[in-house]
């Protein structure tokens, strides 16, 4: 991590919590956890509350579909850490083949029409937000997406366009496959709120 002091200045209860995670998993906690617990009122607490609501709260999108969108946005932003973290959840829920097919070419991947329309909206919104007009939203509606569903898609894009940048600027360490799988299990079980 490029800012090493972020790994040291935690409140006492968080130091204990992160130590427990290290003991339980047998490896150091992921850098994202260190960042979220560093001065947690500044970023970690409000950010994780937003993420938990959007990725785990009520939605017409399944949890796996929302994780697929997270993986897709992270892939477009070339954020290896977030793509690997959320891709491991998609691998565990929808299957490794589907993750690979979407990242290779979402247009030909075997997806239901609403999900494909969501990815069609996410691509320009991530890469060229100034180009996004109502047409892509209307196309999503035609594919069966509701207005609330479209809002959820937009929030997922905003979340990952934020955290991808933090991850790359701070240079999060990239876990191996086993590490990603262990984190995916915890994120499926517990969600994102850091409490």
């Amino acid at each position: 991590m490029r800012l090493p002091s972020l790994s040291r200045s935690w409140r006492f209860s968080d130091r204990v919590k992160l130590k427990m995670i290290r003991l339980a998993s047998g490896r150091p906690p992921a850098d994202i956890l260190k960042i979220l617990h560093y001065r947690r009122e500044f970023f970690g607490e409000p950010f994780s509350a937003w993420v938990h609501q959007v990725l785990r709260g009520p939605s017409e999108w399944s949890i796996a579909e929302r994780e697929l969108m997270a993986t897709f946005v992270s892939h477009l932003n070339q954020c290896r850490f977030c793509e690997g973290s959320h891709g491991a959840i998609v691998d565990a829920t929808l299957g490794r083949e589907l993750t690979a097919a979407v990242l290779a070419d979402w247009r030909t991947a075997p997806l239901r029409p609403a999900l494909r329309a969501a990815l069609a909206l996410l691509e320009p919104l991530t890469l060229r937000p100034g180009d996004v007009g109502p047409e892509l939203v209307e196309a999503a509606y035609a594919a069966g997406v509701t207005e609330q569903g479209a809002r959820d898609v937009v929030h997922i894009c905003a979340i990952f366009c934020t955290i991808n940048r933090v991850a790359d600027a701070v240079d999060f360490a990239i876990p191996d496959d086993k590490g990603f799988q262990g984190d995916a299990y915890q994120l499926l079980k517990r969600g994102y709120a850091i409490g």
Binding site: F42, W50, P134, E138, A158, R165
Partner: protein, 151 residues
């Protein structure tokens, strides 16, 4: 103008939770002045100090290419790690908000277009009147009744 609605009455909506986050990052207590965090979040590069400009631009447009050297340069000129962290989060959040605003604006425009289509009066072009079947003459009606009566 941000398209995040005022959600004072719904703190659990995604929009409300984003507003809480934005306030914490840009206006909450920190080691950099709030004004500086706002400037970098909105990428007002002409107002950003020279040594920060390249870092903000990289973070906003292609954070994946940021380097150890860029961060080291900021620390060398006197920014603390805590300040670099705050500025990093502020720039990242600004990039996220740009997507949020663009996406919610597109949803609003789609709703407006749909409402406009629903309220436009349907104009039916004038058509020549279709020929109507000739009204039966009273004497033919009387002949019909007489036939039924005789049957």
């Amino acid at each position: 103008m941000p398209h995040v609605p005022d959600t004072d009455n719904d703190d659990t909506s995604p929009e409300g939770l984003f507003a809480v986050l934005r306030h914490a990052v840009l206006d909450g207590p920190g080691s950099t002045p709030s004004r500086v965090r706002h400037v970098v979040a909105h990428a007002k590069l002409d107002e950003v100090s020279h040594e920060l400009r390249g870092y903000v631009d990289t973070m906003r447009e292609h954070a994946w290419s940021s380097t150890d050297e860029q961060v080291r340069d900021l620390l060398t000129v006197g920014w603390s790690e805590d300040q670099v962290y705050e500025l990093t989060v502020a720039v990242a959040l600004g990039a996220g908000q740009r997507r949020l605003d663009a996406g919610l604006a597109a949803i609003t425009r789609a709703r407006t277009r749909s409402a406009d289509e629903a309220t436009v009066p349907v104009v039916v072009p004038a058509q020549p009147a279709a020929p109507q079947p000739a009204a039966p003459r009273p004497d033919s009606l009387r002949a019909e009744v007489a036939r039924h009566a005789a049957a």
